[in-house]
Amino acid sequence: MKIHQRQDKGVQIYEVEGEINFHNSPDLRDRLHEAIARREQKILIQLRKVSYIDSSGLATFVEALQKTKKYQGHLVLTELMPAVKSVFEIAKLDGIFSLAGSLESGLNLLRSPG
């Protein structure tokens, strides 16, 4: 798994590549927690290159979502591949997270007022 990080007009963007599983999800957790520790208001995670995610990956995102909400931050996940989206659906998390089909719509979600 690789994590590429960049900023775009106040949005912290993480692009994850590869599989997110039990063995590497702690690395993802650490990277997200760096942003959470800085109380980043707008975090976008691109998942277009993630082919697989297991429950530990979902747990990482659930934890990140809870922590960002605590300081009124916003977290958006974009471009989920069908296999990844189905895992979110099984856990009934597709309605809990802000999911966007494209990077642009994800950025719009974060930049729209409210």
Binding site: N21, Y52, D54, S55, L58, A59, S86, I90, A91, L93
Partner: protein
Amino acid sequence: MNEKKQFDLLCESGAISRFRTALKELLIRSELDEKKLHEVTLAVDEALANVARHGYKGEAGRIQVEVADCEDRIEILIRDFGKFFDPTSIPSPELPPSKPGGLGIYFMKTVMDGVVYRRGKKNANELILVKRKQA
């Protein structure tokens, strides 16, 4: 039965990753559709993560996996020699989850047609996962 294969691996990330690749190749040969192939891979991964987390607690213990490609189903037996752990006894989590964790066993039960735990020889933990080829 079309094919039966046994894998012996250590409970560590490199070995599990290589096993996952071999499992996918076997499942492709079994003519499971893509959705079911993904579901079986997910369930096996969750089972192995449980062995790592609860059975061996991070130690690189031995795991044996037997994959049987039968006419109408795929049967996978996962055997470990770690601490006693029956994942089927864990209650299903609240959904959507309000806290991280606890989803692995729910995934296994949801995507597979059968999940059975038994105590094997030499006190091994044995988890049997069954997936029917047709809905």
